[in-house]
Symmetry: C2
Subunit: 588 residues, 2 copies
């Protein structure tokens, strides 16, 4: 294995030149301006001191640049993972306490070690447990939950909870205590940020700026809000008037420390760390794949696991909390022209400089502005339209998505995602446990066989052709026995049953037992089982059992071949029906 297999930076680093550096530098500048408010805000969302958000945006970016395979992914604190961090730690420690901060570091360490282990063991496929509808429902619900949770900062009141039934009554109770100046700052920030996101670019273009410059400047909208807000609080002495501000932010780079390795706590945090890892990985890979595809590049899931693992471990070592690849900032990075992960290195330098120089200026930053930043960011995650699409396409997928959505909103983030994953597995199992089994006949004038209920096809009285539309394996092993029993019982003239295996991609040990039982029962009823169109890998496996020697029938290369040998003269065609589109398809 080449060293560049685990260190993709050796590939892109070799040809790195001044042109790329200029592009990466510009992208880094814009991402830095975007990351400063976001990092502070997501740390607040995670229940941590704001400066930890900046810490989590330095070393992790370097680590990802070293090991990650996406050229443009920007890692750091993101909304959903910060929410999951808060949901995990809030029941255990008072928010912001040293124990809480330590546990957040431990959570990042566990998450990083899990991701790295999954990379080494090539277990990335576990992330497939999270189907698109579950992830979509989860992210939408998290967005709503986060936005509602931040309202308290806009109102200047206290109200916390891990789901809507806890949050909403508290917010309503706290409503009379709304702090006017805070609300004003919050609403103005919200309006500005929303306008900046949707209209600033065009306005700047109308003012005569180039599209590229307008686009880049528009990303600095939140920074402007911060500067104006700090100046206002400072000038009008609003802190004394009761506007809550970020307060003292320690200056200087974080020291390298190992989180306290409390084994009991680690075991307690492990399930949450696994969920955070998987959700973070899925989110990051989706972003990475989308961006890579645009430039016809590829990302390697194993490298992504390792990159994110390294990012989280280094977050843990530098006073941070769990991080992953973020959608918004990666798109900004991409749009700003980032060519290589070196943009991440430059961004890390930018954040590092900010921590050393700018933190004293952040003291007067109102929490309401950060809350507005979060709300604007997460509301773009909410996509309830996809729910309608999913539901229309598939009731099962729709149910999984709704369950995840409602689970997160009404119970909490972890319960919601587990509900979604559990339900999608259960529905999948239910679906495959009762597979579609079609009686098929020959499409006239062809060698093709289709469902007798959908197509006008030719059937043979003494040969029953069955197509099982599912792999034969443990969830449906018993069902097949039952259905074949019924079908044979209702057709006394049948002497041969040909199982057309074009849809059978696997026959596992449970199904092999069932097949043996079926053969035995069919023999007792005077019927012989045959197989047709058995795929290579399935055939290879059957040859390793004694089924082929014992079942007494033949394995035909195609259903056509089977019928040619078992019933040389086809008996009767069903009536031709009026057709539309496909000439042989029956109308329903």
């Amino acid at each position: 294995m080449k060293p560049s297999h685990w260190l993709p930076c050796l590939d892109w680093g070799r040809g790195y030149d001044r042109g790329s550096a200029a592009q990466d530098g510009l992208a880094a500048l814009i991402v830095t301006l975007m990351l400063i408010p976001q990092s502070l805000a997501y740390a607040m969302l995670a229940g941590l001191p704001p400066v930890t958000g900046l810490y989590a945006s330095i070393l992790p970016l370097l680590a990802y640049a070293l090991f990650g395979s996406s050229r443009t992914l920007a890692v750091g604190p993101v909304a959903v993972v910060s929410l999951m961090t808060a949901a995990t730690l809030a029941p255990l420690f008072p928010a912001g306490s040293p124990a809480y901060v330590g546990a957040a570091m431990l959570l990042a360490l566990l998450s990083g070690v899990l991701l790295a282990a999954m990379a080494m063991l090539r277990l990335g496929f576990i992330a497939n447990f999270l189907s698109h509808p579950v992830v979509s429902g989860f992210i939408s619900a998290s967005g709503i939950l986060i936005a509602v949770g931040q309202l308290k900062h806009l109102l200047g009141v206290s109200a916390s909870g891990e789901n809507l039934p806890q949050l909403l009554p508290k917010l309503i109770q706290a409503l009379p205590g709304t702090h006017g100046p805070t609300l004003l700052i919050g609403v103005l920030s919200l309006a500005w940020l929303w306008w900046a996101r949707t209209h600033l670019k065009q306005t700047l273009q109308h003012l005569g700026l180039s599209a590229q410059l307008a686009n880049n400047l528009a990303k600095a909208g939140p920074v402007l809000a911060i500067i104006v807000a700090i100046a206002t609080v400072d000038l009008l002495q609003l802190e004394q008037a009761g506007v809550r501000v970020v307060g003292l932010v320690p200056q200087g780079l974080p020291g390298l420390t190992l989180p306290t390795l409390d084994l009991d706590l680690a075991i307690q945090l492990l399930p949450a760390a696994l969920l955070i890892s998987l959700v973070g990985f899925v989110e990051s890979v989706s972003v990475g794949q989308t961006l890579a595809a645009k430039r016809r590049q590829r990302i390697q899931p194993d490298n992504e696991l390792l990159g994110l693992g390294a990012a989280n471990i280094s977050a843990a070592l530098s006073g941070g909390f769990p991080v992953t690849g973020g959608f918004a900032r990666s798109v900004v990075n991409y749009d700003a022209g980032a060519r290589t992960p070196m943009a991440g290195v430059f961004t890390a330098l930018g954040i590092g400089l900010s921590v050393m120089l700018l933190t004293p200026l952040l003291h007067d930053l109102p929490q309401a502005v950060l809350a507005a930043t979060i709300i604007v960011a997460v509301l773009s995650l909410v996509d309830l339209k996809s729910l309608r699409h999913t539901w229309r396409y598939s009731r099962q997928d729709g149910a999984a998505q709704i369950a995840t959505l409602l689970g997160v909103l009404l119970i909490g983030v972890e319960a919601g995602i587990l509900l979604g994953v559990g339900l999608s597995l259960l529905l999948f199992l239910w679906r495959t446990s009762q597979p579609h089994i079609a009686v098929v006949g020959q499409v006239p004038g062809s060698e093709h066989f289709r469902n007798v209920e959908r197509f006008a096809v030719i059937e043979t009285p003494n040969v029953l052709s069955l197509r099982v539309d599912e792999s034969l394996y443990f969830p449906n092993a018993r069902y097949l026995e039952d259905r074949i029993g019924e079908l044979i019982a209702s057709r006394p003239q049948v002497r041969h049953l040909v199982l057309m295996c074009s849809g059978v991609n696997l026959i596992d040990a449970s199904a092999l037992d069932s097949l043996n039982a079926i053969v035995e029962r069919l023999h007792a009823a005077g019927v012989q089982l045959h197989l047709s169109e058995v795929k290579g890998p399935v055939m290879d496996r059957l040859r390793r059992s004694d089924f082929l020697q014992c079942f007494g029938g033949q394995v035909f290369i195609s259903q056509f071949e089977a019928l040619k040998q078992l019933a040389p003269v086809p008996a009767a065609s069903s009536q031709p029906l009026p057709t539309q589109g496909n000439p042989h398809e029956k109308r329903s």
Copy 2:
């Protein structure tokens, strides 16, 4: 819905006559003789007073006769479920204490309610989670664990533990304290029971008895052991010599009581109750199906759930513990000629009479004899040969079986079965997450398409025919994108990609997203996607999305039709190869 849907006894009860009653009565007598020692023994195995085993063999049999659909299944305490009961309760309460007995009743109640709820909600398919290899590994390991656990009774020492690493050292430590007379009784019982099981029938036949009578008498072997043992202990005053006996067994029928409804305890017991229900259901259904098939009868899984649910609820109400359909006793019931569940009613009467009349006689029954009964019964459950078969057929199934076996032996029953189920799901997901994708070509002289690597087939340079051997759904949605990307990248001359969907039994919402992404990328590369051989149910679903309008390609009825239209003149055939068996199959 007919009343007989939920009360199958209305069906068989209508035509019940004296002939059936005589048959059922004889079977009941034999099963009663067999059940008395087994019930006492399995109660001891479950850590309960022996009499609870008899209690659990009265009402549950009546309840099952009312609701169950198998004609010959005999329910009551069974080895594996008793072991699971002990594993659940032993960490919570001292064995045999009133709290322990109460918790066992509660466990039966929970298990019964769960089973009945599963019947009502038609959730029986959940039992499919337990694949054959997992069940087989679980039962073999439980058999070994039970047998080793009973050795202490044979040796007359104390040693307990929930897995072999706990049990074996304690047994070895306790070895010097072996109680001679107990060991002698134990070994003699073991030898007699073993011989009775394997040779008594033939011996009785050699003595001139009819095969049927010899068979029935042989089942009473354990009862003879009990009688001789009680007489010996009584005559030689062995209890005073230190032989542990069953002791005082309360006389009379159990009173009807509701177990104490401790909600906290109920929640704590719920996961175990679910596992016990599922394992009991699977064991019972396998037995029921096997016996029903022999007489061309059918069992209904929903009725079985309800029957077992009612049996467990009534066990809970009458001082019993979790029960299910047992393999050995059902076979005996069947062999002895039982015709209907009325045999179960007669058996319940027999056990009821025994509780009222015989219990004083059981005082001097040595525990070593019961232990011998258990050991002989469970060793027949151990089937390590099937492990070799499974492993040879499928590494994944074999791994699941080994994991379950080792998990039960080395960690414990619950951990073992969860490990097996988890691993089989994980391996299944892993397997389907990287589906077999074959490039296919036309088998010369037919309309059939097969893998180019296995068959000498005709390929077309500008049309790539791909057969995906898996449903397209969340575990493999991303993999398909990757593989198609690779295949297209290596074939620059391809203009059309036809996805042959004969193996695609489902396209879920995640895979639909992936297909849209694939179409987009193919378009960018100048390739058009088409589908062929899409099955009816899959097509119905696709019509509910906008995929068919947007993807720009066609859906062909067969791969042959697709090639006929997209590449009217086939370009070149691959070299004909020497073949064997199937004329087109390549030799490997």
